[in-house]
């Protein structure tokens, strides 16, 4: 009889084989869905996003009902975590929004220009502790609920034979500062006071890497999300990207990999221009995960012998397309990006209004086309 542990080992090996750029017995499928899972299970977003234990149960139940997944990217969801990656307040369903509306980042200027000086002179950690306390409504007090729930959430997935793939999330100073300053102020800073911004980034990245190492040591994840959204190549000039973005990703990814953890480059928007740079990151220890905006077929050409590729069924296809169109696109991905070195997933996150039959078709396609 196949036990949950047998299934877990089989699925883990399938995923790791893909990351090593070898050909698994079939292409693995490792989705991510938070608000979608809540809607699918009839759980109010207000409850789902503030209760990490509940979110874990909801994700598991949702994906197990929709098919046979090899892993799930996140183990649970906690809305306040978004503030740590954005340095922004949030609009939360049930508190600031109707109970079943999607949470959103309230992107206003919380961080001032003088905060760069504070980081440079006093260090990043004292700054961020004060920032959480004074400007993010004592965020530090809210986070332990989530971190304490992660080990049991990972175990719950393993108990069902499902790989908890990438429960840890890290990013670079660019994303934090861009969120904290607001995008238009931050771009102004890059133009007017680039040296000061860079000096603050150089201080911040040291503590951010130390925190990432500590998190990897505590949670012992298989992979960690290294997130990027506003730092995308499509937004900023090559000169700015090469100075303020890539060197920091390189440091962060190398640190994560040194901890024995796979780095998932969860990169939203279009990074096509700079794909070549990603070849400087550790080979066969990274997963490039675009959201449907980057040319994934170009990514295969540039990174195919260097990085596993994960994605990228577009959110709009899942919400507005048909089962036939979803199958057609998945087949193309499996055949052209895979079958070696490829993990099938949605681009970014499954949207809340995705059609369940389309998500089920995506999951089923690896058995249909991926062996």
């Amino acid at each position: 009889m196949t036990t949950a542990n047998d299934l877990y080992e089989e699925r883990l090996e399938r995923i790791l084989t893909a990351v090593r750029l070898e050909r698994p017995d079939r292409v693995p499928v490792v989705p991510l869905g938070d608000s979608f899972c809540a809607r699918h299970q009839g759980v109010k977003l207000s409850e789902f996003c503030t209760n990490p234990e509940l979110s874990n149960q909801v994700m598991l139940k949702c994906f197990m009902e929709l098919g046979e997944v090899d892993g799930i990217q996140h183990t649970n969801f906690y809305v306040h975590n978004l503030s740590t990656a954005w340095l922004s307040r949030l609009k939360i369903p049930g508190r600031d929004l109707p109970e079943d509306e999607l949470w959103q980042v309230d992107e206003v200027e919380l961080m001032s220009e003088s905060d760069y000086d504070a980081i440079i002179n006093d260090g990043f950690r004292p700054f961020i502790e004060r920032f959480y306390l004074e400007r993010l409504d004592n965020l530090g007090e809210k986070l332990p609920v989530f971190f304490m729930s992660v080990p049991s959430a990972m175990q719950a997935m393993k108990d069902h034979g499902i790989v908890p793939f990438s429960p840890a999330i890290v990013t670079i100073p660019y994303e934090l500062f861009c969120g904290g300053r607001s995008m238009h102020q931050f771009l102004r800073d890059l133009y007017r006071i680039p040296d000061k911004v860079q000096a603050a980034m150089d201080v911040a990245i040291r503590d951010m890497i130390e925190d990432a190492r500590m998190m990897c040591g505590m949670i012992k994840p298989i992979a960690a999300w290294v997130g990027g959204w506003r730092a995308a190549s499509e937004f900023i000039s090559p000169r700015h990207w090469q100075r303020f973005v890539f060197p920091y990703y390189k440091q962060m990814v190398e640190a994560v990999v040194e901890e024995g953890v796979i780095a998932v480059l969860h990169f939203d928007s279009d990074w096509t221009r700079d794909l070549e740079y990603l070849r400087e990151l550790p080979a066969k220890r990274i997963v490039f995960s675009p959201d449907g905006s980057t040319d994934i077929f170009k990514a295969k050409q540039v990174l195919g012998d260097h990085a596993c590729i994960m994605g990228d069924v577009p959110a709009s296809l899942l919400s507005l397309g048909t089962v036939e169109k979803v199958e057609e696109y998945c087949k193309r991905l499996i055949e052209e990006i895979g079958p070696a070195g490829f993990i099938l997933a949605q681009g970014c996150d499954i949207p809340p209004n995705a059609r369940p039959e389309n998500v089920a078709a995506m999951i089923a396609s690896v058995k249909k086309f991926g062996a």
């Binding site: 980042v105 771009l187 959204w229 000039s237 681009g347 209004n353």
Partner: protein, 222 residues
């Protein structure tokens, strides 16, 4: 149903332009107009003001989760079409959006759309900074638009405005370019262009867009 998709970087004057345009379309032309807001950040349409003016305003979420919402604009447009049967839907895109990516989904899955016009607001006052730091975004928005409004010209020297006009024309030779100060009122030529139905002209634009819009998922032709 006509779609007017208004893009442009954060703070470029989209909201000001939309308020004036919508007011003209409703008051002077008797059009039924719905505004769909999808902006990030603190600048946004004042729903209460517009409700007082008699427009329908619908908001959809912005912020970091726009990757989840690529289909949301189209779903909202379809819902608006069914619920209100408006003459026009004015969409305020997020300041970090490329209109092409919204159009790709809108043209593929949108219902009842007879014409689409893409308007880009270029912030002349911050041109130098934005074109140096985020040139891909700014030029991308210009190149994918039908109409480009070089805004905030009251904040700039005439020479700079002319330079910007020339650069815009070089980037998108087909675009209709106007230099404006939206806060002081839009020129009547612009209001008339949008106030009239313009279906014949923009329907052609729509079919051209359909031809040139890539299929779902990016592709590499190399």
């Amino acid at each position: 149903m006509r779609i007017i998709l208004v893009c442009g970087f954060l703070g470029s004057g989209k909201t000001t332009m939309i308020r004036e345009l919508a007011a003209h379309m409703v008051r002077a032309k008797g059009r039924r107009v719905v505004i769909l807001e999808n902006e990030v950040g603190e600048v946004g349409i004042d729903d209460l003001f517009l409700a007082g003016e008699g427009f329908q305003v619908k908001g959809i979420l912005g912020g970091c989760i726009c990757c989840q919402l690529t289909g949301e604009v189209t779903a909202a447009v379809n819902e608006i079409g069914r619920e209100f049967s408006p003459d026009a839907v004015v969409i305020e895109a997020t300041g970090v959006a490329r209109p092409g990516s919204i159009l790709k989904v809108l043209l593929k899955y949108g219902e009842g759309i007879e014409a689409v016009t893409v308007v880009d607001m270029v912030d002349a006052g911050r041109w130098e900074m934005l074109s140096e730091v985020v040139p891909g975004l700014i030029l991308g928005q210009i190149s994918e638009s039908d109409v480009v409004l070089v805004n905030k010209i009251d904040e700039c020297e005439d020479e700079l405005v002319e330079n910007i006009r020339a650069l815009v024309a070089a980037e998108n030779p087909a675009a209709r370019i106007y230099a404006v100060s939206a806060a002081q009122g839009l020129p009547s030529a612009i209001l008339e262009e949008f106030g009239e139905g313009g279906e014949q002209e923009v329907s052609c634009a729509l079919s051209e867009k359909e031809k040139s819009t890539p299929e779902e998922g990016a592709s590499c032709d190399a």
